[in-house]
């Protein structure tokens, strides 16, 4: 089997924007045919570094990675829109690049005329466009508006028409850059059907997307780009999992540093807050007399490691370090969980659970363990408090701690009850979707 796309140690260096060097880039472009040869390293930016890729004919490859990892640059280099700074790209067959839909449309003229010109731009002859015209219009669902100027189209109509033209060019190699978020559900399904048809007909597809589920379901192979380099390539499920783990680690750090920042800010403002603000107002903050002080709050997973990201249904412990300079007899420990919308998912305290306080002195650690974290995926914030039975606060930490619940199921709501489905024998499923 031959390769449709061969990318051989391709690097792409961009110029950082600097007015001052305008002339230098022109000069080097003129003299050496390269834009950046005259620039110092700090004036350039590497979007791709030594990327190699071979896509056999008929394969569908998904490119994943965080924003700014070079996915779109890779696509543009393969499409031939930009030239690589070094390395070579070979593509066999006609390419169609769905990078920005309807990029060539002229707003003043009708959809009909735009279809013709766009088709010709993408490499069709006038007659070929005429042959496919009805199909294009039908696919875009624009029969009633095709003779109206394109400037009167809604953005969805605009994109649909652009997509319909690009897909009907009948390419051998199709490059798709995150364009499936174009239309409504119905249109997205039509696009997916069209891609599936392309696959059946042995066309090669290179798909850049953030929709990891799509990559797992749809692609023969996945490529994970990060910082302009290929981090992993191979079986989509494996690559997506590796990528997700990496994203979690990043998120972990992000949440930790974000929480630390929020606490620093409240620490600085702590003296100014004399009266406790309205308890039910969902703003971050910290207040209290500090006769008992909350020194530190950490989350811990099943493995006993500190973490901020937990799988749904796993065990999570909240460890609260507290300190009392003088012995205290009247105290209540409380916990509240809030979701990103500020809805209280759960709240409890030792008083509600009828634990009568007796004595506390010195330092210690209170651990609140949730055996099964039955929440749907999302970001949650935590209230931690120590107060008197009558509500007088010793130390109240409002929404200062963040954790994430992750899940492979995109179920909705807040709470995920433990559940299972049971079916009679005449209702059958083939098992999990591939």
């Amino acid at each position: 089997m031959t390769n449709s796309i061969e990318v051989d140690s391709v690097s792409k260096v961009y110029r950082r924007f600097a007015r001052r060097r305008q002339f230098a880039t022109l000069k080097s472009a003129l003299l050496s045919g390269s834009l950046i040869s005259d620039l110092r390293p700090d004036e350039t930016f590497s979007a791709l570094q030594d990327v190699s890729l071979a896509v056999p004919q008929g394969q569908t490859i998904g490119v994943i990675g965080p924003n700014g990892s070079g996915k779109s640059t890779l696509l543009k280099v393969v499409a031939g829109i930009t030239k690589p700074t070094s390395g070579t790209v070979r593509v066999n067959g006609r390419i169609s690049a769905l990078i920005e839909l309807g990029a060539g449309f002229h707003p003043e003229i009708s959809g009909r005329e735009n279809v013709f010109i766009n088709g010709i731009m993408l490499g069709l002859s006038k007659r070929e466009v005429a042959q496919k015209f009805d199909e294009i219009v039908e696919f875009a669902q624009l029969e009633d508006f095709i003779d109206a100027p394109v400037k009167t189209y809604s953005s969805g109509m605009y994109m649909r028409l652009g997509f319909a033209v690009a897909i009907n060019v009948d390419p051998d190699v199709l490059l798709i850059d995150e364009v499936l978020a174009v239309g409504d559900q119905g249109f997205t399904h039509k696009c997916l059907d069209k891609f599936a048809e392309f696959r059946r007909r042995g066309k090669t597809i290179l798909l850049v997307t953030h929709s990891l589920g799509l990559v797992e379901r749809f692609c023969d192979e996945a490529v994970w780009l990060d910082g302009g380099q290929v981090k992993a390539t191979g079986d989509p499920k494996r690559v997506v999992d590796a990528y997700l783990i990496d994203v979690e680690e990043d998120e972990e750090q992000h949440i930790a540093s974000g929480d630390a920042k929020a606490r620093d800010a409240t620490e600085a403002a702590a003296d100014e807050i004399a009266d406790p603000p309205d308890m039910f107002q969902a703003t971050e903050g910290r207040w209290g007399s500090r006769e008992i002080e909350i020194v530190e709050v950490t989350f811990e997973g099943e493995d006993g490691e500190a973490s901020h990201v937990f799988p749904s249904g796993a065990r999570m412990s909240i460890r609260v370090r507290v300190k009392a300079e003088q012995p205290v007899a009247d105290f209540v420990f409380g916990i509240g969980l809030f979701n990103a919308e500020g809805v209280c998912c759960y709240g409890t305290n030792t008083d509600l659970e009828e634990l009568k306080s007796d004595r506390m002195a010195g330092e210690g650690e209170v651990v609140f363990t949730i055996d099964t974290l039955d929440l749907v995926a999302g970001t949650y914030k935590l209230d931690v408090a120590v107060h008197k039975r009558d509500g007088y606060p010793y130390d109240y930490h409002r929404l200062l701690y963040t954790f994430r619940v992750k899940s492979r199921t995109n179920d909705i709501g807040i709470f995920r009850p433990r559940h299972r489905w049971t079916f009679p024998t005449n209702i059958r499923f083939t098992g999990p979707l591939e």
Binding site: T25, L30, L35, I81, A97, E100, A103, G104, I109
Partner: protein, 264 residues
């Protein structure tokens, strides 16, 4: 370079449809629509006629009659030339979306501006024809055969300049403004509103250096003046120079081609 130049022929369908789109889009939504192609040059002529016949009648050359027709013979090709160059300087930037998002041969863009303006020029020619008949200007049919040659030379010259200006403006946006003023100066440094014979003796060599002088004189000699077309040597020389200019322009364009997607 010559490989790319050869590809141009393949793009003629694209150029054709883009020129058609340009012409359609330009007047879309206006009441008079396509008639503006006739009205615009006429109105421009009226302005110049007003200035030199009513406001400043002393400056107007006495021995050139009818003066308005004389002026029109130079003004119409000049409009084609200057609009083409000015629009070409902006063409790549305006077409940035195409260059950045679609696999698109960038050289098509300056070609389209030049050809679209050429169509406007052609649409103005019937006005000249009507005027020639109306003023009973004697027409030398043999001279008229030169007209396509003159148009071809101007086309090559304009394309060459457009190909030079378009990629340079991508790197120096300032060029657009410089060109605007340069074109105004160039217009007055060309014998369009005055005949070459009225130029001061000391400045004549300077006018001779101006390529558009020879185009303007050629148009005037073929269309306005009777008598044989005596300027053909100059015209052919300019034709040769235009071929060189076109190749130089294309070379520069080709050289800078890869930078467009990043700089536009």
């Amino acid at each position: 370079m010559f490989h790319n130049l050869g590809r141009l022929l393949r793009y003629r369908g694209l150029i054709q449809s883009l020129v058609a789109r340009e012409l359609k889009a330009r007047y879309r939504g206006s009441v008079l629509g396509f008639f503006w192609s006739f009205i615009n040059p006429l109105l421009l002529l009226l302005v110049y006629w007003f200035v030199f016949s009513v406001v400043l009648p002393g400056i107007r050359p006495i021995d050139v009659q009818p003066y308005a027709l004389f002026m029109f013979c130079g003004l119409l090709p000049w409009t084609w030339f200057s609009s083409s160059v000015l629009e070409a300087s902006n063409a790549l930037i305006m077409g940035g979306n195409l260059i950045k998002k679609v696999l698109f041969p960038a050289e098509v863009l300056p070609f389209v501006t030049v050809f679209a303006n050429m169509i406007h020029f052609f649409l103005g020619l019937p006005i000249i024809a009507v005027a020639l008949v109306y003023f009973e200007v004697p027409i030398n049919w043999l001279d008229l055969l030169w007209l396509p040659v003159i148009v071809l030379v101007q086309l090559l010259f304009t394309l060459g300049l457009a190909l030079l200006v378009a990629p340079l403006t991508v790197h120096f946006r300032d060029l657009k403004d410089i060109l605007g003023n340069l074109m105004t100066f160039w217009f007055f440094a060309t014998p369009i509103i005055y005949p070459m014979s009225l130029a001061p003796a000391g400045g004549k060599w300077l006018l001779d250096l101006n390529p558009f002088t020879h185009l303007a004189i050629s148009y005037q000699e073929v269309l306005f003046y009777d008598g044989p077309f005596g300027h053909w040597k100059w015209l052919l020389a300019l034709g040769g120079a235009s071929i060189v200019l076109f190749l130089a322009g294309y070379f520069l364009f080709d050289r800078l081609r890869d930078s467009f997607a990043e700089e536009v």
